[in-house]
């Protein structure tokens, strides 16, 4: 096994030389996670807004359920999606198992509850503040929801970034449904797991450094958004 110093040196060399394999893995990771977050937003934002503004029997139980789903174990999600997409499963004929699409589905399932729960809380708090004002304006319920979503935009972007953070750092689900196939479904986290087990620490460390950089960048973006929002009293 290489020593740590040599591994770090090789990792930085891979990064500096823009190694083709490394870039391919990073690009697929971003592609899968961004697609998963986009799809999760399409479901999570309206679902969260609906839970935030409407009142119906069983709403509280549904909120508890959605909140609980935020802690879904990725391997359980991976297993479930695997069973659904496997040849004998109900979605087997679609032939999605061991494809990037299967990984998008798994990550979307993991991220949707995060976006929905944060959206619900944000929209509900804002509704409490805006309710009477929107009522006196005679605004329709659908226009009221759009107003709440727009005015919560900074917080909701933060929720989307939190979802992206969860997706891009996830390994358990994507390794089950993607299979970690080279040049097909290998993403940063699964590659790190594989290369570490094979003793090739350079690539694992290189990818790890990029993952950490992405995490830092996402957090920096969240912080700067918050500062911008607070400065203009839009938070």
């Amino acid at each position: 096994m290489q020593d740590f110093g040599a591994a770090f040196g090789e990792a930085f060399r891979l990064l500096a030389s823009l190694d083709a394999d490394l870039l391919e893995i990073v690009a697929l990771s971003l592609q899968v996670s961004l697609a998963a977050v986009a799809l999760a937003a399409l479901v999570g934002l309206p679902l969260g807004a609906l839970l935030g503004v409407t009142r119906f029997p069983g709403r509280q139980a549904l909120i508890v359920f959605v909140n609980a789903l935020m802690g879904l174990p990725p391997v359980v999600v991976g297993l479930t999606v695997y069973l659904l997409l496997s040849r004998a499963g109900p979605l087997g004929p679609l032939g999605l198992l061991y494809t990037p699409e299967a990984m998008v589905i798994a990550q979307m399932i993991l991220v949707t509850p995060i976006i929905a729960a944060l959206t619900r809380q944000t929209v509900e708090d804002l509704k409490t503040e805006y309710d009477e004002q929107l009522t006196v304006l005679g605004i329709t319920p659908s226009a009221a929801v759009l107003t709440l979503l727009w005015d919560a935009r900074y917080t909701l972007i933060t929720a989307l970034l939190a979802g992206f953070g969860r997706a891009v750092a996830e390994v358990g689900a994507v390794i089950i449904v993607g299979g970690n196939i080279n040049h097909v479904t290998r993403v940063m986290t699964t590659a790190i797991a594989l290369e570490t087990s094979r003793g090739d620490l350079a690539l694992a460390l290189g990818l790890g450094i990029i993952l950490v950089c992405i995490a830092v960048a996402v957090n920096a973006l969240v912080s700067s958004l918050r500062v911008t929002a607070v400065r203009s009293a839009y938070a």
Partner: protein, 235 residues
């Protein structure tokens, strides 16, 4: 659009906030709901605006039960203005867009309302960064942009300094000069003297006096009103 309440009763925590109130607001210029804290003034305004349903009694707007499509005939400004997380101009445009105005029309009418309220120079400023007096004038501009027949103002100067109060009072005069009815809640006797055309004096959830302002201030008929005008503590 006459606004009428018949037999209005509202109880909270075993206490009667409104006690069989009958009220009719027609073309009165500036009608002031005056009385000590806890008399039920703000609650009465909210009940008449159909923001709070009464426990008993009925509210009608132009002889009809309150409906969303009738709301635009009635502007409402809260003691603490609720402003959206947008620019000052965007707050006014939002109200107009919600009322069905197109992009061009909403911009023109919003600018006119801002000018009327003396806020043109602050149009692009974040609404929630304006001073207290400016925020209140913006809330009035937003309500007026919808061209309501009547404007309800719930203690609009309660938290303002004398200079900001004077600007709001001048704006209220301009509103009535433009032919709109104003219903103003205040516990400030000086403000009532300066603005009122008609005074309804509330005490312990009842309207104990309803008179033209000059008659009320010259010779209040009730003991509670006499004591209040004399600066005594009325419980």
């Amino acid at each position: 659009m006459p606004i009428e309440g018949r037999g209005l009763v509202l109880e909270r925590a075993g206490r009667r906030i409104l006690d069989a109130v009958d009220i009719r607001l027609a073309n009165d210029g500036i009608c002031v709901l005056l009385g000590p804290n806890g008399a039920g003034k703000s609650v009465l305004l909210r009940v008449l605006a159909a923001l709070v349903p009464p426990d008993a009694g009925t509210v009608t707007w132009g002889g009809q039960a309150p409906r969303r499509d009738l709301r635009r005939g009635l502007g409402f400004v809260f003691q603490k203005p609720v402003l959206l997380r947008r620019s000052a101009l965007a707050n006014v445009r939002h109200a107009l867009r919600a009322a069905g105005a197109g992009r061009g029309e909403s911009l023109a009418r919003a600018r006119a309302a801002m000018e009327f309220a003396g806020l043109s120079a602050l149009a692009r400023s974040p609404a929630r960064l304006l001073s207290g007096g400016e925020q209140q004038r913006l809330a009035i501009a937003r309500a007026l942009a919808l061209e309501p027949e009547a404007l309800f103002l719930d203690e609009p100067t309660a938290n303002l300094d004398p200079a900001a109060t004077a600007r709001i009072e001048a704006l209220i005069h301009d509103v009535t000069a433009a032919g709109r009815k104003v219903v103003l809640v205040t516990h400030d006797v000086g403000q009532a003297r300066r603005l009122a055309g008609r005074v309804l004096f509330l005490h312990q959830g009842r309207i104990v006096e309803d008179a033209p302002a000059h008659a009320f201030f010259q010779a209040p008929a009730s003991g509670a009103a006499r004591a209040y005008l004399a600066g005594q503590i009325v419980l």
